[in-house]
Amino acid sequence: MADIQKIEPDSVFVKAVKEGLLAGALAFGLFFLIVGFRTDQNIRNELVLNQRWGLLAIFVLVAGIGRFLLTAYITPWSEARSKNKRAAVEKEQSAFRKSFPKIGLGLLLIYPFLVILILWAYNGSIMGGLQGSLKYVDNFGIQILIYVMLAWGLNIVVGLAGLLDLGYVAFYAVGAYSYALLSTHFGLSFWLLLPMAGIFAALWGIMLGFPVLRLRGDYLAIVTLAFGEIIRLVLINWTVVTKGTFGISGIAKATLFGIPFTPGPTGFAALLGLPNSGVYYKIFLYYLILLLALLTAWVTIRLRRMPIGRAWEALREDEIACRSLGINTTTTKLTAFATGAMFGGFAGSFFAARQGFVSPESFVFLESAIILAIVVLGGMGSLVGIAIAAAVMIGGTELLRELEFLKRIFGPDFTPELYRMLLFGLAMIVVMVWKPRGFVGNREPSAFLHKRKMVSSEFTKEGHG
C-alpha cells in the first residue's frame, strides 16, 4: 500500500479500492453475528446455532464491491452531471408533466375495464377476464387508492397546515370501527354510515387536537403517536364492545342504490343479466374509493383557495407571523385536524366495508408511518406527487407478492413476501436520501402576482407546528 500511495496518492481508483476494502471489513463486522449465524429452535424448543459463512461472504463481497463501484465510477459520473445550476424558478414544465394529472385520472377511470379487456384477450374467455381481473383490481387498484386517499387526507394536516401527525391511523380506526359497530348492531346502511364515520372521526380529531394545540413540532408528533397507540390499545382491551383482537367480522357490504352485490336473483349480476362473478363488487368498490379519493383531492384543492386553506399554509410557513396578523391559530389548527381526520374516517368506513372484518391489527403504528412516508416521499403538499408515491411504494410491495419467478432462481423456500417490508423500509431511506423533498418537491403558489411560477423545492418551507 505504501508504494501505491507514493506513486499516485489521489487516484480515484486507489481510493475506491481502499474504501471498498473498508466497506467489506465494516460489512463483516456488521453481519458477522446476525448473518453468519442463524438461530433455530430444535425439537426440545431450545435454540441452536446454524452457521452460514457463505451468505456472510456474499454480504461482505456485495458491500465491498458496491462501495468500490460507487467511489470509482458512480460518484464521478453523478458529480459531473449535477454541475448544472439550480434556479429559483423552475423552467417551464413539459407538456407531458403539465397534462399528467389528466392522463393519470383518465387511466384510473378506465383501469378496471382495461384490466378485464387485456385479460379477456389473454385468456380468450370473458369469465377468465373477469375472474383474473379480481386480483389486479383488488390488490393493486383498491389497495393503492386507499393509501392515496389516506395520504391525501393526512396531507391536509402535514402538508398544508404543517402539523406533524404520527397517529393518523387512529382516525382510520375510528371510521372503520364506527361503521363496523353501527352496521352490525343497528343494521344501518353503508351510505348513511359513511358520512357518520367521517363526522365521528372529525369529532375525535377535534377532541385529540384540542389538548395538543400548544405543542409544536416533535412534541406534537410524539403526542399524536401516543394517542394513536392509546386508541389501538383501547380497541384491543375493551373486549365487551370491540371483541378485542378477534375483531368484528361479518360486516355488511356496501350496496349500489340498494342493489346488493350478491349472487341471488335480486343481486347486481342477475338484474343486469351478467354472468355471476365477485368482480362486480370489486369494481364497484374501486370506483367508490376512486370517488372518495377524488373528493379528498377536490376539497383540498378548493380549500387551498379559501381563507381557511390560506391560513393553513400561512401557519405552516410562519406561525408567529400568522398570529401577529390576527389569524386564530387555535381554530385553524383544529379545522386542519378535523378535516384530515374526517377523510381518514371515510377511508376507514370504506376499509371496513371492503374487508368485511376489522381488528386492531390493521391499525398499528406502522400504518401511520407508511401513510406519513407516502406524504413526505411524494413531496408534501403535492397531490400528484403523493399519488405517485403511493403507487410506487404500495404497488411495489404488492408486486413482490407476484414475483413467482424468483422462486425458480432462489429455490422453492424463497418467499418474496418476507422481503416486502424490508424493501419498503430500504426504499424509504433511498428515496429520501436521493430526493429529500419528495418526488414532486416544487410547489405551486396559491397566491401570486401576474403569473403563477413554480417555487423550486430549494425554497419551499415546511411547518414547525
Partner: protein, 302 residues
C-alpha cells in the same frame, strides 16, 4: 406496603432499562434535534447480538461462568451495535443533515422498518428463548419482599454505566465537544470541533447503552423477538420526553418514572391498560409541562 415496595422494585428494574435506552434518544435529539425512530430497533438488535453471543459461547466453549458470559455478551453487543449505529448514521442520517426537518425522521422510520424486518428475514420470525442465566434472589429480612438477583444485576449494571457515562460526558474532551455541539453546532465547528465525528460518536454511545439495555432485557425476560424494539423504544422515548428531552439526568429520571408508573398501574389497576397509562401520562405531562421535568423551556426565537 410490602406489595407496594415489591412493585416499586420491579418498576425500578424496568425503569433502568428504559432509562438506558432513553439516553440514546435524548442525546441524539439534543445534538441534532431529530427523533431517532430506529433507536428502539437498535436496542432489539443489541439484544439479538447478545443472544447469539450467548449461544455461540454455549455451543463452542461450553460451560462459561455466568458473570463472564454476561460480560462478554454485553461487550460484544456494545461493540457491534455501536458499529451498526455508526453505519446507520453515516448512510441514512448524515446525507440529510441540513435538509428539511421531516427528511431524517422519514429515513429513521424507514430504518426502523428495515432493521426489524432484516432481523426477521435473517433470524426467523419466532420468539428466541434462552435458558435463564441468573436464578434466585434474596428476601429482605422480616418481610416478604424478594429481590431477584437478575434485578440486582440490572440495577448495578445501570448504575455503573451511568457513572461511566456521566464521567464521559462531563470530564472528557469528547463529552465537552458533545455539549458544545448541543449548544451551538455552527460555533462549535468554527472553534475546530469535528462536528460530524462528534455526532457519530453520540450515535455510537447511544447505541452502546441500548445494547446493554438489550442484553439486560434478554437476561430479565429470557426471550427476544424481532418486534420487541417498538414498544420499549416508544416507552423509552416517552421517558426521554417526560424527563425533558435533551437532558441526560432527565432521561434516567423519566425512565425510572415510566417503569414505576407501569409496574404500579399493573399492580393496582389493570395490567391490560398499562401502556395506555404510560402514554396518557406522556400526553398529560407534555400538555401541562411541555419541557418535561428537567428540561429547559423552549425559547421561541422570532
Amino acid at each position: 406496603m410490602e406489595y407496594f415496595i415489591q412493585q416499586s422494585i420491579n418498576g425500578l428494574t424496568l425503569g433502568s432499562i428504559y432509562g438506558l435506552i432513553a439516553i440514546g434518544y435524548t442525546m441524539v435529539y439534543g445534538i441534532i434535534g431529530m427523533i431517532n425512530f430506529a433507536h428502539g430497533d437498535v436496542f432489539m438488535l443489541g439484544a439479538f447480538m447478545a443472544m447469539i453471543v450467548f449461544l455461540a459461547l454455549t455451543t463452542f466453549i461450553g460451560g462459561v461462568p455466568v458473570v463472564l458470559a454476561l460480560l462478554l455478551m454485553m461487550i460484544v453487543a456494545m461493540l457491534l451495535t455501536g458499529l451498526w449505529s455508526w453505519t446507520i448514521e453515516r448512510l441514512a442520517y448524515r446525507p440529510l443533515r441540513g435538509s428539511f426537518r421531516l427528511a431524517p425522521l422519514i429515513t429513521a422510520i424507514g430504518m426502523s422498518i428495515a432493521l426489524s424486518n432484516f432481523v426477521q428475514v435473517t433470524q426467523g420470525p419466532r420468539n428466541k428463548p434462552i435458558p435463564p442465566l441468573v436464578n434466585g434472589g434474596i428476601t429482605i429480612y422480616g418481610t416478604n419482599i424478594t429481590v431477584a438477583y437478575k434485578q440486582m444485576v440490572i440495577i448495578i449494571v445501570t448504575v455503573i454505566l451511568l457513572a461511566a457515562f456521566w464521567y464521559l460526558v462531563n470530564k472528557t474532551t469528547l463529552g465537552r465537544a458533545q455539549r458544545s455541539c448541543e449548544q451551538d453546532r455552527k460555533m462549535a465547528a468554527l472553534l475546530g470541533i469535528d462536528v460530524d465525528k462528534t455526532i457519530s460518536m453520540t450515535f455510537v454511545m447511544g447505541a452502546m447503552l441500548a445494547a446493554v439495555a438489550g442484553t439486560l432485557y434478554l437476561m430479565f425476560y429470557g426471550v427476544i423477538s424481532f418486534t420487541d424494539g417498538f414498544t420499549p423504544g416508544v416507552k423509552a422515548f416517552t421517558a426521554a420526553v417526560l424527563g425533558g428531552i435533551g437532558s441526560l439526568p432527565g432521561a434516567v429520571v423519566g425512565g425510572l418514572l415510566i417503569g414505576l408508573i407501569e409496574a404500579l398501574w399493573s399492580a393496582y389497576f389493570s395490567i391490560d391498560y398499562k401502556d395506555v397509562a404510560a402514554f396518557s401520562i406522556l400526553a398529560i405531562v407534555l400538555i401541562f409541562l411541555p419541557s418535561g421535568i428537567l428540561g429547559r423551556p423552549e425559547v421561541e426565537k422570532v
